[in-house]
Amino acid sequence: MNDLAGLFLRAAFVENMPLSLFLGLCTFLALSRRTETAIGLGVAMIAVMGVTVPLNQLIYNALLMPGAWSWAGMPEVDLSYLSLIAFIGVIAATVQLLEMLLDRFFPAIHASFGVFLPLLTVQCAILAGSLFMVERHYTLAQSFVFGLGGGTGFAVAVIMLAAVRSRLAYADLPAGLRGLGIAFVLTGMMSLGFSSFAQMVAP
């Protein structure tokens, strides 16, 4: 149990997806103008990652891993090169489902996502969650916790950035730094702050 809590903290803070691994930055920067949008994105990220990482873990271990077909008398079959397509397929289906649900029940959030909801399919952070899961040989429980932790870390970071940016709307910035420029500088500072979490979880 303690291990799982540690894994959650590690995925959420020490290996924060956008701030220390540079994953999912496109949506991170583009959707952090307003706090409401950022909260919606954060919740969507937690949901998608919490579902897709364990699902991909099952698929990888049951079908794609080297030796996964040994029960059928084919121990030499190694389908791991297909994992990328399989993972992307699962993620795309999950995002599509989420889009339909949002469209039906929360049209306001759906409208504010705009073009970026389909782009959640190509969210680097989500796919990277599944790829890290393979690289580190997580079990089903671990991959579920890892997915939730990664999503939570993303949500925390994007909501914080959005909060700071919406205050900065009133600031008098140099013209060239407005918008994207200042967002990068802010992200850099937050990244400095988050790097202090590295000491929090002992390896």
């Binding site: 103008r33 990328l84 795309a92 504010s112 389909p118 990277a128 140099p174 918008g179 990068f184």
Partner: protein, 221 residues
């Protein structure tokens, strides 16, 4: 935009005027993660440009046969297949660099730049302009990667492409490496500075000030 020919401007516009990383906010993830050294930055830039051009070409050729509802899945499967090929080639011929890039080659699949361009351009245009547009965007992306990679490698380790350019203090020279340059935050600061510099040179790219922020989304793109 008075360019000599439409194709030429399609190729050169994304280099500075419509740079994919700095103006369209596409493909930033990999742009920052792989730029700790020039060698990885160049490999990444080349792989991405190849994938981008080929996927734009393929998708543009079959654009009339893709049903609208499932176009994302079709596009991603095409991109993912190309990425698998590139990944296998890199592992076979450039093993060291592919180890350093780790998951980031696979993550080209989800590079917003690839899907953004196929979605907004290749899906609607004939093959030749689509591939030229893809090449232009790939080169614009490569430009940012090379600038960032050379700055970070030069100041972080005193090297360029693995050659010692600035003599290190511990070996009798005068240069003390700034290890911050190799860490995550500096990448953000550098790219922020780059955006600032570019927008100061070309004021028309600067975003309008948001006076009434929460009501409308008129600022930015």
């Amino acid at each position: 935009m008075t360019a000599p020919s439409p194709l030429w401007s399609t190729l050169t516009d994304p280099l500075v005027r419509q740079n994919p990383v700095m103006l369209q906010i596409l493909g930033i993830c990999s742009a920052l993660a792989v730029t700790t050294s020039m060698a990885t930055a160049l490999t990444m830039a080349a792989s991405l440009t190849v994938v981008l051009v080929l996927s734009a070409g393929i998708i543009s050729i079959i654009r009339r046969h893709i049903p609208d509802a499932i176009r994302l899945i079709v596009q991603i499967v095409i991109v993912a297949s190309l990425v698998i090929v590139i990944d296998q080639i890199l592992q076979a011929y450039l093993h060291d660099i592919s180890q350093k890039l780790s998951v980031f080659v696979s993550l080209i699949t989800t590079n917003c730049l690839v899907l953004g361009r196929t979605e907004s351009y290749a899906r609607l245009n004939p093959p030749v302009p689509s591939m030229v547009d893809a090449l232009g965007n790939g080169l614009g992306y490569s430009l940012v990667l090379v600038v960032l990679g050379s700055l970070r490698e030069l100041f972080g380790a005193g090297k360029l492409l693995g050659w010692q350019v600035l003599p290190l203090a511990e070996q009798g020279g005068w240069f003390t490496p700034m290890s911050l340059m190799l860490l995550a935050p500096s990448a953000f600061f550098l790219l922020g500075g780059l955006v600032w510099a570019l927008r100061s040179l070309r004021p028309e790219q600067a975003e309008p000030a948001e006076f009434v922020p929460p009501v409308t989304r008129e600022a930015g793109e």
